[in-house]
Every structure is written in structure tokens, then in C-alpha cells.
Symmetry: C2
Subunit: 120 residues, 2 copies
DNA sequence: TTGATAGTGAACCATATGGTTCACTGTAGA
DNA sequence: TCTACAGTGAACCATATGGTTCACTATCAA
């Protein structure tokens, strides 16, 4: 259970940075070298390397080094856990708002009834 | 566009902490005061207050202070953007893995054909 | 009125994060 | 072989984060 928590931690943290989300989108188009990514995001090689490492750590990206270039591609994890977590909470949210809607409807009906009673 | 990015930033960052995800789950059951939450998560009032503020900032929680107690409840945002982002990328992932599957199938067929050709 | 309770804000602390530079290794090509 | 290029790692820096304590305000209840 703790493990599960930690994984959500690292994934959400990985996703909380614009650059890293950008890298994921970029890799959605095609694989890219670290240099490609560094240039695209106006950053030093070292800086980009760190981002790539974090994404790799989170399992969102895999890399392979052939010759002197390291190629990055989308990783094996498909964000299923994260999607599940968010979906679960969206449902919770929805359920509560539905309840609120019902309450509002109930109050409206009551108000209407009161008004009619008064009129008589 | 930048605004969109920033919002995803803050939400994902808000979600990347175990305690804060815990608070959201807790609030899914029922509303709670800051003191309730602080006790439940073994933390000082001040500490919990900070978490609540972050969740509020991200729009995931709303609070109302009546008398001396501030009650927290699930906020108006329903994580739709975040779900959309993740869903979009899950599809990307899936698409790429499907392509991989096809490639594998193709190679299998080729291999089989080669084997048959060899046998003759 | 007085004492306990709930929250707030400022200051502080240790550690994490996102970035850099610099020195280095390994590889590709002329 | 020599040079340029891709990546790596260590050191450093500024700022953010997650937490604390302490002093304060406001409210509730006896």
C-alpha cells in the first residue's frame, strides 16, 4: 500500500512539470535523442538529462543508448493507476454534486409548496 | 495556453503529495474541519492548514469558516482537465503499443514464411 | 469575565527541485 | 590520429516544499 502511494507520488510529481509533460507529448510524435529534446526545450543537455531520468524513474519513458546517442521513447507504463485514481475521485465529486442538486430540487419543491400553502 | 499549463502544474503538484490525496479521500466521505484533518494525519494545525490552502488554490477543495471552525469540503473542480490529459496520453501510449504489436505480428508472419521457403 | 479551543501568520529549518557550469568519457568521421 | 560531438557526473545555486514552533486573534461556553 505504501508502495502504491509512493508510485502515485512519483508519477504525479513527474507530471507536475511543464517541461516533462512537453517531453511526453514530443515523444508521442516520435522518439528523440536527449540533444533533440534539450534543443527543443531551450535547455542544457545536463538539464534535459535530469528530466529524462525523472520520467524514466516514473516509468513514463524508456531510453536506450546506441553509440554515443541516447534515444528516448514512451515507456511501458500507461498511466492506468493515475487514470483510475482520478476517475475514482471524479465519481466521488460527481456523486456529491448530484446529491447537492437533489437537495436544491427538494428545497425548490418545498418552497413552492410553502408558497401555495400561504396563498390559500 | 500558458494558463492551461500552469493549472495542470498546480493540480498535479497538489496531487503528488500523499497527505493531500489522503485529505481528498477523507473529504470524499464527509466534510471536516482543519483540526479533524490535522489529527487524522498526525500533523500540526499549521501544517494541515498549508495543505488545505494548496488544495484550495488548486480548486480541489473549498472551505468556509463559521464561528471559529473552518470546514473543508470537496471543491468545484472535478479533475476533468487532468483526466483528459491523462486519457489523451493513454491513447497515445496505446496507439504506439498497438503499432508495436502489429510489427511483431508482421515479423512473426515473415519468419514463418521464411521458414516455409527454407523447407522447400 | 475567564479559560479553553480553532485557526492564522511569521519565522525558521532541512531537504528537494530545476536549473546551471565545468571537467570528463566515449564515439564518429575526416 | 585528430577533432568535434553526445552524454555523464559532480558541484553549485536559488527557490520551493513540507514541516515545525511561537505568538497572536477570535470565538465559544461556563
Amino acid at each position: 500500500m505504501v508502495h502504491y502511494q509512493t508510485r502515485l507520488d512519483t508519477t504525479f510529481a513527474a507530471l507536475s512539470d511543464v517541461t516533462r509533460r512537453g517531453v511526453l507529448e514530443r515523444l508521442g510524435n516520435s522518439d528523440a535523442s536527449v540533444t533533440d529534446l534539450a534543443q527543443r526545450f531551450h535547455m542544457t543537455l545536463t538539464g534535459m538529462k535530469k528530466h529524462v531520468s525523472i520520467l524514466e524513474q516514473a516509468g513514463l519513458v524508456t531510453t536506450e543508448k546506441v553509440g554515443r546517442v541516447r534515444t528516448c521513447k514512451l515507456g511501458l507504463r500507461r498511466l492506468e493507476e493515475e487514470a483510475a485514481w482520478i476517475e475514482q475521485h471524479r465519481q466521488l465529486w460527481s456523486a456529491r454534486f448530484d446529491a447537492l442538486d437533489e437537495l436544491v430540487e427538494h428545497l425548490k419543491r418545498k418552497e413552492k409548496a410553502d408558497a401555495q400553502r400561504k396563498r390559500r
